[in-house]
C-alpha cells in the first residue's frame, strides 16, 4: 500500500492552494475567518492567507496555501479504461478491410437542448481534431453527423434507418448535471424501444470519462482531448468482437 499526498515543495508536505470567496466584507476579521475556516472547519494545517481582497463591498476574496493531512492509497485506486490500442488511421482501415470486411456505420449527435456540435464534429467530420482525421474520412466508416438539439426518438430512428453499429453521443453543457440526465434519457428511451442492445452506445464530452459513461449505461466513454482515431480503434475492435458472437448482416465494403 502506497499512501500518497500532495507534493508542494517536498515529498509528502501536503501543500495545496485554495481560492474562495466569503460573503463578508474584507478586513482583519474576514482574514481571520478565512484562516479559521480552512484550519478548523476544513481541518488543514499551516494555513497561510496569501491574499485577501474586496471582491465587492460585501464579498472578500481569498487565496490560501495550506497543508492537508489527508492522504490516499494510490494502489487501491482502480479506474476502468478503454484499453484498445490506437491503430491509427491506416491501422483501423486495415483491420476493417482485413478482418471485418464491411463498413462500420455510426450516427452521432447531441441530444436535449444542448446545441454544442463542436465535440461530435471533432470526432466525425472530415477535418477531425488536432490533426487526426475524423470518421468521415475513413474509407471503412459510414458516419452520419446529426448535429445538436436532437430529440431522442429522432436520434434512434436515424440509427435504425441507416443500420448503425454505433450511436455516438456528445454532451457538453453540464450545468446541474443536465448531461447526465440527457445521456441517461437516451439509454432509457432505447431500452423502452428495445434498441439498447442493437447498438454500441458511446458517450463523449469535455466533462466525461469512460467510468462515468459506464455508470450512465453506455458501452464506452471518451473525455477531453479525444482523438477520432481512438474512437475508431475502439469501434473496430468492438464491432469485430460483436460480429463474431452475433454475425449480423452489415453493409458490404
Amino acid at each position: 500500500m502506497k499512501r500518497i499526498r500532495p507534493y508542494g515543495d517536498r515529498t509528502d508536505d501536503g501543500v495545496i492552494q485554495l481560492t474562495f470567496t466569503l460573503p463578508i466584507p474584507a478586513g482583519p476579521r474576514a482574514r481571520e475567518t478565512a484562516r479559521l475556516f480552512v484550519e478548523r472547519e476544513m481541518g488543514m494545517k499551516d494555513v497561510k492567507v496569501a491574499a485577501m481582497e474586496a471582491a465587492s463591498r460585501t464579498h472578500a476574496y481569498f487565496v490560501v496555501y495550506a497543508s492537508t493531512t489527508a492522504s490516499i492509497d494510490y494502489d487501491a485506486v482502480q479506474v476502468p479504461v478503454v484499453d484498445t490500442p490506437n491503430y491509427g488511421f491506416s491501422g483501423v482501415n486495415e483491420r476493417i478491410q482485413g478482418e471485418l470486411k464491411r463498413h462500420i456505420v455510426v450516427v452521432g449527435g447531441n441530444n436535449g437542448f444542448d446545441s454544442h456540435t463542436v465535440g461530435i464534429d471533432a470526432i466525425i467530420n472530415m477535418k477531425g481534431f488536432a490533426g487526426d482525421y475524423g470518421l468521415e474520412r475513413y474509407p471503412g466508416f459510414r458516419a452520419f453527423n446529426l448535429g445538436a438539439q436532437l430529440k431522442d426518438d429522432e436520434f434512434l430512428d436515424r440509427a435504425v434507418e441507416v443500420h448503425a453499429d454505433a450511436i455516438l453521443v456528445s454532451k457538453v453543457v453540464t450545468q446541474r448535471d443536465i448531461h447526465k440526465e440527457d445521456a441517461r434519457g437516451l439509454i432509457e428511451r432505447a431500452k423502452a424501444r428495445g434498441l439498447r442492445d442493437r447498438f454500441i452506445f458511446i458517450l463523449g464530452g469535455p466533462r466525461l470519462s469512460h467510468k462515468e459513461a459506464l455508470e450512465l449505461g453506455y458501452d464506452a466513454g471518451f473525455g477531453p482531448g479525444t482523438k477520432p482515431s481512438e474512437v475508431a480503434s475502439y469501434l473496430v475492435d468492438e464491432v469485430i468482437k460483436r460480429s463474431k458472437s452475433h454475425p449480423a448482416a452489415g453493409s458490404g465494403l
Partner: protein
C-alpha cells in the same frame, strides 16, 4: 495607433457588395412578417401579461390569428377590429378572438373603406403614443448616461448568469464595483429556441437567467442605484437573437437597456433557426433598436468556435460587412454597430498573437466609427485556469493595442462554468491592470512595413472581398446553404420557426414600420 496600409478602394467595394447582398434579402423581408414581429406589434400596442397557463397574451392572440390564416393582415389590424367591437380588455380578447375568426371570420363582416381608415387611424394614434413612450425612455436612459458618464474605452463587458435574477443583481453590483462597465445577463440555455418570452421575475434558470421584461426592469433598477453610488453609469445588455428577436428588442427598449446581442445570422448558424424567419425578425428588431439608439453586438466571434480562426478569419470580416449593411437598411447608424470579432486563433500556433493583432487592427480600421465588440478566447481555453488567465491577458493587451471599443472580459474558467463571483473579480483585475499599464501602447508602436502583421491583415481583407463576391453571386441564403459562415450549413426551409413566417397581405397593417425612426443625432 499602429496603422495598416488598408486599400480603401477594396473596402469600399466590400461595402458595395454587402449593400447589394443585403438589398436582396431586404426585398424578401419587405414582403413578409412573422409571429414574432406581430407579437411585438401587439406588445408595442400595450398587450402585456399572461394567460391562464402562463402563456403571454401576445402569443395567444398571434397563435389564433396564425392558425386562422389571418396574420398576413397584421396583428395591428385585428387589434383594431376588436377594439371597434368594444373588446379592449386583452384577456377578453384572447377568449373571443378564436370565435370571431372561426370559419374564415364569418362573424366579421367586411369594413367600409371609411371604417377601415378609422380603425387604422385609431391604432395609428396608439402607435404614436407607444413610440413616444419609447422615446421618453430612451431620453431618460441617455440623460443618466450623459450625466454620470460610462468611463473610458475599451469598455469592460462582463456576464452574470446565475439563473436567479436576485443573485444576478448581487453579482452585477459586485462586478460593477470591481470595474465592470457593461453587465450582460446571459439567458437560460435554449431560451432562444422558445417561441415566447417568459413572464415575470425568475429565480430558476439553466446556465443563465431568463430574459423577461421584469428581469430587465429589476436589473436596470439595481444598476441605476449602483451607478449613482459609483458615480459612473453602468450599462446593461441582454440577448435578442433567437425566436423572439423583435420582442426582446421591444422589452429592452422599454426597460432602458443600453445594448443588445443582435445578429442577422447568429440564430440561423448557431441555433438552427430558419433563415427566412431570422432575417424578417432581425429587421423589425433593428427598427426598434434604431429608434431607441441601442447599441447592437453582433455574433461573428462565434464563427471562430466552429471554424478555424486562421483559415476562416476572413469570414468574420465578410459577415460584418453584411451585418452592417442589413443594419443600415433598418435605420441603424454606425455608432450603434458593435460588430463582433474574436481572439480565437490556436494559441500554440507560432506567431498566433501577431495574427490576432493583425485581424483586430484590420477590423478596427475598416469600421472606425463602430463600437466594436471584441470577444476573448473561448475555444482554446482549458481547465488549467492559470494558463487560461494568461491567455486572456494577451487578449486584454490586444484589445488596448488595437483600441477596441467593447471588451468582453475573458474569464479564466471559460472551459468550466459560467463565471463564479471570484472568477469575475480576477478577470476584471487583470483587465484593469493591463489597460492602465499599456494605456498608450497603441500610440507608441507601428507595424513593420511589409511584415508578418501587415501581410496577414491584407490577406484577410482580400479573402473577405472574395467571399463577398461569391455571396453576391449566389445570394446570401444559398451561401449559408453552402456553409460559407462558421463552417455550418443551413437549408433555406430548414430549422426552427419556419412555420412562423407569413406573407404580408396587400392590406397588411403595421403602423410601426413608418413610425419607428432613428432619433436625431445626439
Amino acid at each position: 495607433m499602429p496603422t495598416l496600409p488598408v486599400d480603401e478602394a477594396k473596402v469600399a467595394e466590400c461595402r458595395q457588395l454587402a449593400a447589394r447582398i443585403a438589398r436582396q434579402v431586404q426585398d424578401y423581408i419587405d414582403q413578409h412578417t412573422t409571429v414574432a414581429v406581430e407579437r411585438t406589434v401587439l406588445r408595442l400596442l400595450g398587450i402585456d401579461g399572461v394567460g391562464d397557463h402562463g402563456a403571454p397574451l401576445a402569443n395567444l392572440l398571434v397563435e389564433t390569428l396564425h392558425k386562422e390564416g389571418a396574420l398576413g393582415q397584421g396583428a395591428a389590424y385585428w387589434l383594431g377590429r376588436c377594439f371597434r367591437l368594444g373588446l379592449d380588455n386583452p384577456k377578453a380578447l384572447v377568449s373571443s378572438l378564436p370565435r370571431l375568426l372561426a370559419d374564415g371570420g364569418k362573424q366579421l363582416p367586411p369594413l367600409t373603406p371609411a371604417e377601415d381608415a378609422a380603425l387604422r387611424a385609431d391604432i395609428q394614434r396608439m402607435a404614436v403614443d407607444a413610440v413616444e413612450e419609447l422615446s421618453r425612455r430612451r431620453e431618460k436612459r441617455d440623460a443618466l448616461r450623459q450625466k454620470l458618464g460610462v468611463g473610458e474605452d475599451p469598455q469592460k463587458y462582463i456576464i452574470v448568469a446565475t439563473g436567479n435574477i436576485y443573485e444576478d443583481v448581487e453579482q452585477a453590483r459586485a462586478a460593477a464595483q470591481a470595474g465592470a462597465q457593461i453587465i450582460a445577463v446571459i439567458r437560460s440555455t435554449a431560451q432562444s429556441l422558445l417561441d415566447y418570452v417568459p413572464h415575470g421575475a425568475t429565480t430558476e434558470g439553466f446556465g443563465g437567467t431568463y430574459a423577461t421584461q421584469e428581469n430587465f426592469r429589476i436589473m436596470r433598477e439595481a444598476l441605476d442605484d449602483e451607478s449613482q453610488r459609483l458615480g459612473r453609469y453602468i450599462q446593461l445588455t441582454n440577448y435578442s437573437s433567437g425566436l423572439c428577436m423583435p420582442e426582446i428588442a421591444f422589452m429592452a427598449a422599454h426597460e432602458r437597456l443600453d445594448m443588445l446581442l443582435n445578429d442577422s445570422m447568429y440564430g440561423i448558424l448557431f441555433r438552427d433557426i430558419n433563415m427566412r424567419r431570422t432575417f424578417i425578425d432581425q429587421y423589425f428588431s433593428r427598427r426598434i433598436i434604431a429608434a431607441s439608439r441601442i447599441i447592437i453586438n453582433t455574433g461573428e466571434d462565434n464563427y471562430l468556435t466552429t471554424a478555424d480562426a486562421v483559415d476562416q478569419g476572413h469570414t468574420v470580416l465578410a459577415s460584418q460587412f453584411i451585418n452592417e449593411a442589413l443594419a443600415h437598411l433598418a435605420g441603424c447608424v454606425d455608432s450603434q454597430l458593435g460588430l463582433g470579432h474574436a481572439h480565437e486563433i490556436n494559441p500554440w500556433v507560432e506567431d498566433s498573437w501577431l495574427m490576432e493583432l493583425a485581424q483586430a487592427q484590420l477590423i478596427r480600421q475598416v469600421f472606425p466609427r463602430h463600437p466594436l465588440k471584441f470577444m476573448p478566447p473561448t475555444k482554446h481555453m482549458t481547465g488549467d485556469i492559470f494558463w487560461s488567465h494568461v491567455y486572456d491577458a494577451m487578449f486584454n493587451l490586444a484589445t488596448v493595442t488595437t483600441k477596441q471599443t467593447i471588451q468582453l472580459v475573458g474569464v479564466m474558467t471559460e472551459a468550466m462554468h459560467t463565471p463564479l463571483l471570484m472568477d469575475r473579480y480576477c478577470a476584471l483585475k487583470s483587465v484593469n491592470y493591463i489597460s492602465g499599464a499599456a494605456k498608450h501602447l497603441a500610440d507608441e508602436i507601428q507595424f513593420t512595413p511589409g511584415g508578418r502583421i501587415e501581410k496577414r491583415a491584407l490577406q484577410v481583407l482580400d479573402h473577405a472581398h472574395e467571399t463577398l463576391k461569391h455571396v453576391d453571386d449566389v445570394g446570401l441564403m444559398d451561401a449559408i446553404g453552402e456553409g460559407v459562415f462558421a463552417d455550418t450549413k443551413r437549408r433555406v426551409d430548414g430549422g426552427k420557426g419556419h412555420e412562423g413566417v407569413v406573407v404580408r397581405e396587400k392590406n397588411y397593417f403595421n403602423p410601426f414600420l413608418d413610425l419607428l425612426r432613428p432619433p436625431p443625432a445626439p
